[in-house]
């Protein structure tokens, strides 16, 4: 709109910012390329044993094989489905329980010591117990993932809800509002950024939980593929699975990041 008004200095400034962005992007690509290149070169020159360490080209071969018979997509699909399901349940449970604790302070005082214990407990310790209790099935994996993420989520959200400015509550009270109004007019809309940033943590932890679960109790999924392939010494499959996991983790995180930007632009 004001194109003609832009001074030369301003243009210079904008260009320098654009240049910086491009440089950062290129640097990122270069690091990836250099890493892959070094790895491949080390494998080809036998500096490392590619039977144990694999190599980008061997991973590519595995990719073609596993994608060719469609099994890779089944593993990805299972892991993704389990992660998303446990993420949704964790988020809903986290918000609900944190709200219940917020609404019933006395109950919260009683229960919070147990939450802290459960949150600090390494949840991997629970996984074998869950398998014995619930059996070798996807339900166990989803519950393992939930157990990894949900306690931290409850604590974070509950602490956030409680740190709301008491004067905002006073505002609603003096306007004649009840506790329900405090919840719907201030607490929930005001906590949206907190909830979304907590979702970012949840999605990562759920993926961790799903992989742990698949290590122990699965016949499908990337976690299963990793543990099975390492047992039969197919390190190419293992490395490929890890590579795919990286992409899934980044993708899921970016989806929430996008959601955060959409919601919080409105909010701020």
């Amino acid at each position: 709109m004001k194109q003609s008004n832009i001074s030369e200095r301003q243009l210079e400034y904008i260009n320098s910012i654009k240049r910086r962005k491009i440089i950062i992007f290129i640097a990122r690509i270069l690091i990836f390329a250099a890493f892959m290149g070094l790895w491949e070169a080390a494998a080809r020159t036998s500096a490392i044993n590619d039977f144990i360490f694999s190599s980008p080209s061997r991973m590519l071969d595995s990719l073609i094989t596993l994608a060719g018979d469609g099994s890779l997509f089944i593993h990805i699909g299972v892991t993704l489905a389990e992660t998303i399901l446990s993420f949704i349940i964790t988020t809903v449970l986290g918000i609900t329980i944190a709200l219940v604790l917020w609404a019933f302070t006395g109950f919260a005082r009683v229960i919070d010591v147990y939450l802290v214990i459960l949150n600090s407990l390494p949840k991997t310790a629970l996984a074998p117990v869950l398998i014995v209790w619930l059996g070798n099935n996807p339900k166990t994996i989803v519950i393992t993932a939930i157990s990894v993420a949900v306690f931290g989520s409850i604590i974070t959200l509950y602490t956030g809800f409680n740190s709301m400015d008491p004067d905002k509550i006073k505002l609603i009270t003096t306007l004649g509002g009840s506790r329900r109004h405090i919840l719907t007019k201030v607490l929930l809309p005001g906590s949206l950024p907190l909830i979304v940033s907590n979702m970012k943590v949840n999605i990562g932890l759920c993926l961790v939980g799903v992989i742990i679960g698949e290590f122990l109790a699965a016949d499908k999924g990337l976690g299963y593929l990793i543990i099975y392939s390492s047992q039969v010494f197919k390190m190419d499959y293992v490395m490929l699975s890890i590579f795919v996991l990286c992409i899934i983790a980044m993708g899921l995180y970016q989806i929430i990041n996008y959601l955060e930007k959409r919601l919080c632009v409105e909010n701020n």
């Binding site: 400015d165 004067d167 905002k168 006073k170 505002l171 609603i172 009270t173 003096t174 306007l175 004649g176 509002g177 109004h181 007019k185 201030v186 809309p189 005001g190 949206l192 409105e266 909010n267 701020n268």
Partner: protein, 254 residues
């Protein structure tokens, strides 16, 4: 005619594990309908306790508070409260912020006076704006309209200008006082700013340090030609009032 607000021998104490803290000690005063009074006193003297008592957030341990001749409690909607900050919610537009109270009471904003007030008080063009796009003064006006939308009889102003910078504060103080006069409301302003109390109100109550008692009640009158709060600040009488109130306050702390 009943006074808008009447305090009869009201006392209130806070209870903590470490003991009892008396905040207000046998206070009695009345506020006439349409009157604008200020309460000044040393910080922590129980001014905010008084406000919370009036709007029913807490109940007195002894004594009576009545509004328009009726005991407090039955008609809290007659009280409007303006907090120290405007607390306009950034996730709502100015209009949606202003109708918050109506929304809580399930009233139709179209049947309320908010459109008229937004127009009268120069916010008409900003109804769809985000609160962050408003200046400090506009934000306070929006907060006032939010309070007035429920048509309270009595307005409690709990240091509503303390978060503003000095210049805005002078402007907004006068603005808000004019709006309150224009809407014929009874107002009680709590402040630690003596000049503000003198230039805005018709009467100043000087409170003692905790537990609060009323030390003095000073009627403020200015000659007719002093219309704006700035005129008042420049008149000779202003200095006299200032000295009077200052002496009452400093007497206290000695």
């Amino acid at each position: 005619m009943h006074p808008a607000l009447e305090f009869e021998d009201v006392s209130f104490s806070y209870h903590t594990i470490n003991g009892e803290v008396p905040a207000i000690n046998h206070i009695s005063f009345t506020v006439k309908k349409g009157e604008f009074i200020s309460i000044v006193g040393p910080s922590g003297c129980g001014k905010s306790t008084l406000m919370s008592l009036i709007c029913g957030l807490i109940t007195p341990e002894s004594g009576h508070i009545s509004i328009d001749g009726m005991p407090l409690g039955s008609q809290t909607s007659k009280i409007g409260y303006m907090l120290q900050k405007d607390y306009l919610f950034e996730w709502r537009t100015v209009y949606d912020n202003v109708k918050l109270g109506l929304e809580i009471h399930r009233l139709d904003p179209k049947e309320s006076n908010i459109d008229t007030m937004l127009e009268n008080y120069a916010l008409k063009d900003f109804t769809d704006a985000k609160p962050s796009e408003l200046s400090g003064g506009m934000r306070q006006r929006a907060a006032l309209i939010r309070t007035l939308a429920l048509e309270p009889e009595i307005l409690l102003l709990d240091e509503p200008f303390s978060a503003l910078d000095y210049q805005t504060r002078l402007e907004v103080g006068g603005d808000i006082a004019n709006i309150i006069k224009h809407e014929h409301k009874t107002a009680i302003l709590v402040t630690h700013d003596i000049s503000e109390a003198i230039s805005l109100s018709e009467r100043v109550l000087v409170f003692s340090a905790r537990p609060a008692t009323i030390k003095a009640s000073i009627d403020i009158t200015f000659p007719d030609e002093c219309k704006t709060s700035m005129d008042k600040r420049n008149s000779a009488k202003f200095q006299n009032y200032f000295k009077l109130i200052w002496e009452e306050l400093t007497n206290e702390t000695k």
